[in-house]
Subunit: 295 residues, 4 copies
């Protein structure tokens, strides 16, 4: 029915993505693109950035190759010497291999529904083997999309035990990335460290304004004319992790606190979905406390 779709992908081809950062020097693009060319790749998209202060080079290259001509492990082995010469942080991904994510929720449904629905129509390149919650409320929603729902009833005293159980479950399901979809609990430093730059949170304010709890109330009381939402990687410092995406909406004196919550809900859904898409499409490189997002 969709007459507005056009491009039919060539089924005999698959795409490869390289994400890499290293100290800047002359010749990096030349050497890397030569590597791609030598292995029969055709570059479809290349984004490059040099941090002018830190002199760090960032690149994302998407290229197509004949399908199954090279296994991923072999490609990684072939690239390793170059990466080591450049002292690079890097990863290579096949676009056909979907990122496996787990979604953590509490009681709000909007972010969870947004992600499950978008994934159901193919907007994300992810598999979602499970949803984890400290409450039962959203089990029916997960069930509608056929996703297993696991409840871990957190209390003041059992966080360490619960997190060990959660990690076991995550590892058993080969989870790569965790999405906190308005999960109202703080993860332990140990947990955060294990999934470094692989936990995506949505904070319901325009960070760094209104960190911590009740940001809509803070915004209402300050009388701002614009509110925002921020998606970021989780680090040990609350609401201080590298920012992936932000968006805003106008408010006025007419808006009650409930209106701010309502308007903010739309922002949260969109900003978190945007951040997850960037992450799943391997578009993000972390640069210290900041991100490079090749969108």
């Amino acid at each position: 029915m969709n007459l507005e779709r056009t491009v039919t992908p060539d089924k005999s081809q698959q795409n490869v993505i390289l994400l890499l950062s290293c100290p800047d020097r002359a010749g990096l693009v030349s050497r890397i693109s030569h590597f791609v060319f030598q292995r029969g790749g055709n570059i479809l998209d290349l984004d490059e950035h040099v941090d002018p202060v830190e002199k760090i080079f960032f690149v994302r290259i998407l290229w197509s190759i004949e399908k199954e001509s090279i296994p991923l492990s072999e490609l990684e082995d072939a690239f390793r010497p170059l990466a080591e010469e450049f002292c690079a942080s890097w990863k290579i991904c096949f676009t056909g291999l979907k990122t496996r994510i787990a979604i953590f929720v509490s009681r709000y449904d909007h972010c969870l529904l947004e992600i499950l629905w978008r994934n159901s129509i193919g907007e994300f390149a992810v598999d979602i083997p499970l949803v984890i919650s400290n409450h039962n409320d959203l089990a029916p929603l997960a069930a509608q999309y056929g996703i297993p729902f696991h409840v871990f009833p957190l209390s003041r005293d059992n966080k360490e035990t619960i997190e060990l159980q959660e990690v076991a479950l995550l590892e058993g399901n080969a989870i790569d990335t965790i999405v906190l979809a308005r999960y109202m609990q703080i993860l332990s430093p140990r947990f955060v460290e294990r999934y470094q730059h692989r936990i995506i949170n949505i904070h319901h304010s325009f960070l760094p304004a209104f960190v911590g709890s009740s940001p809509y109330r803070q915004a209402y009381e300050r009388g701002v004319k614009i509110i925002g939402a921020t998606s970021h990687y989780v680090t040990e410092d609350l609401d201080q992790g590298p920012i992936i995406a932000q968006d805003i909406i106008r408010v006025s004196h007419k808006d009650t606190l409930d209106d701010l919550v309502r308007k903010g809900r739309d922002l949260e859904r969109f900003v978190l979905a945007k951040a997850l898409r960037f992450h799943a499409e391997h578009r993000i490189l972390v640069n210290g406390k900041k991100t490079v997002v090749f969108d």
Copy 2:
């Protein structure tokens, strides 16, 4: 759990809304607000506009009264002499009485899901007794929200018959307003006339650019840097009805036609939901080919 909600409505009170337009003259606000005051109303919100070219006066007044002190019919009778003196178009509504809407869909799910979900969390003041479609595809989605789903299989030859059946169903359910949530059929002039200014459509372009079919393809081929969506009341002239709400999103050379469809989907959901909220909250007055929206 929601610590960010505040205002507890007084259960012994209910709210009344007057929407009125008439030729402008001195004293209108004074006379109408005096009417409200005399009947024990306290004005909570008043928006007023005078069209400087046509010299037409528009007003929306929201006031609170003691609950059940006056039945709606009595209030209308009391106001009628004033309205007739002003040669006004007007209506009075109790906010407790929800607008009854029917949603028309074809195969795209995004607008339907958006409306059903928002209504389920209380964002709209509407009742949705039924969904009508020319296809079966979205029956499961309606079922998830417990809404009866009616299929009317349209063909080239049966539009008149089908519309008569639809009208019977709509009248049997006391439907006030129809929402075309990406309904891919054109309604007959007779049908449109029956529901004048009570059919809300979403068009997937920034009207008046790209009227008609395949607006995303048109936008892609023209190379615009921004795409839009427009919600409007349906009139006999295709895509020419009074505009209620519009929104836009940036695009670039990187965006394929599929990307435009994906980005536009978000616009469509939001713009249609916004228009429906304005309509359900009695915030819209039609001014010839334009609207006055007291948001």
Copy 3:
């Protein structure tokens, strides 16, 4: 030449604006609009707001009367009893009487040029009898627009003396409102108190994020994806005054600190101009630490 202008104002008419706030109660709109009607006024625009938490009533009414039928002082005297009955804060203005403003600058020219140019083409209803600076740099720009330019060379030790001289100059010119157009000095509490809610500042961040100095540097180092600018009334607490207007622009990893300064410059110009227009058109009421802006 401008074929797109239409409405010719009736020269025998002039407009009056009432700005008023008071504790909410039933009948306020009725009583006030009756007052307008009795004195031959025709309401052109009425905006009303009730703070649902504090139960305070705010209103702005614009009405037309026959020119010179009533002197301003007489209108004020006639309205005073009503205002006292309501325990109201209020003012009445004739739109023909322009607000007299002084602009304070340091060395950046963009905000000063923006205001002078906009005023020269009639966008603001203000008179600008003078510009004050602690540097000579912008004297030529003021001269281009024929505005007297006064330099007060501030040092660590002479702020009190200088401010006394400035106040004398301001009073001698019947200045009502001061605009800090990137004025890089902090005013004394005594000075601020004298011009309560009549000093408009532009802060080059999305407040409350990045208060104090070097907000662009702070934003750059935090890695935000959006920067902003905020115009607010100056109070004793730095960058804490009631916010009038805010706007934002997107940034990315590609933007250097210089790019943030460049992009922010545009925001500053626009947000300050917007705030000044609201103020000059008597559209702002202060509500504690917040504003009600009837735009």
Copy 4:
């Protein structure tokens, strides 16, 4: 004074930009980046795009070299064989060599002021040797910025003669690019052809909506909720040229036609300035009726 500036450019270095498009094939990035590397260049910025429908490759590369190590002509000669092998359209520029532009105006000052002021503070990499107009009105503004102002009084009968005189003046001043800053005349096809993709216009609507004259009036009468402005390269077909930049602003029933003109003025200034900056920084490649803008 500007404490927020950081990066001090290395004075012994200069930057080179290559803009190139050609039929897509494997190895292009590798070959071109190798060329840069061989000549001692360090790539600072590389943007690449492949049109997925037309299979055309676009690239912009910015690299630094030791200053004066290579004259521009020699670099071009060295690159030519590669370009010919690729059947490419291309140009190489030194960022130190500013684009020479002429500004065409009629009577509106806002776009001219915006460009002259931005250029005066170093936002553009352009030289502006002259302003051309069919009226005298803006001569004083050009004089303020020290730019020669030439009046060519157009009438119905003399367009051909006048354009010949203008071309002589433009060629005598080695003008590369023409900016139509609300120039209210239509250029002849011959003139347009001579400066293909080197004439930048600002149209005061969100194209393709409201082509031709009086777009604000058209927008007002249609009752749109958003207005826009569009900057594009001029082609023979009026308002149909490749779009470079667009922006929008919200309007409502409160906005008169004059308000639309006022709000639109801000859009026009910004969108034209943005387009000119992209053009002057060699960020634009034309792709048929569309543009690739590497911003």
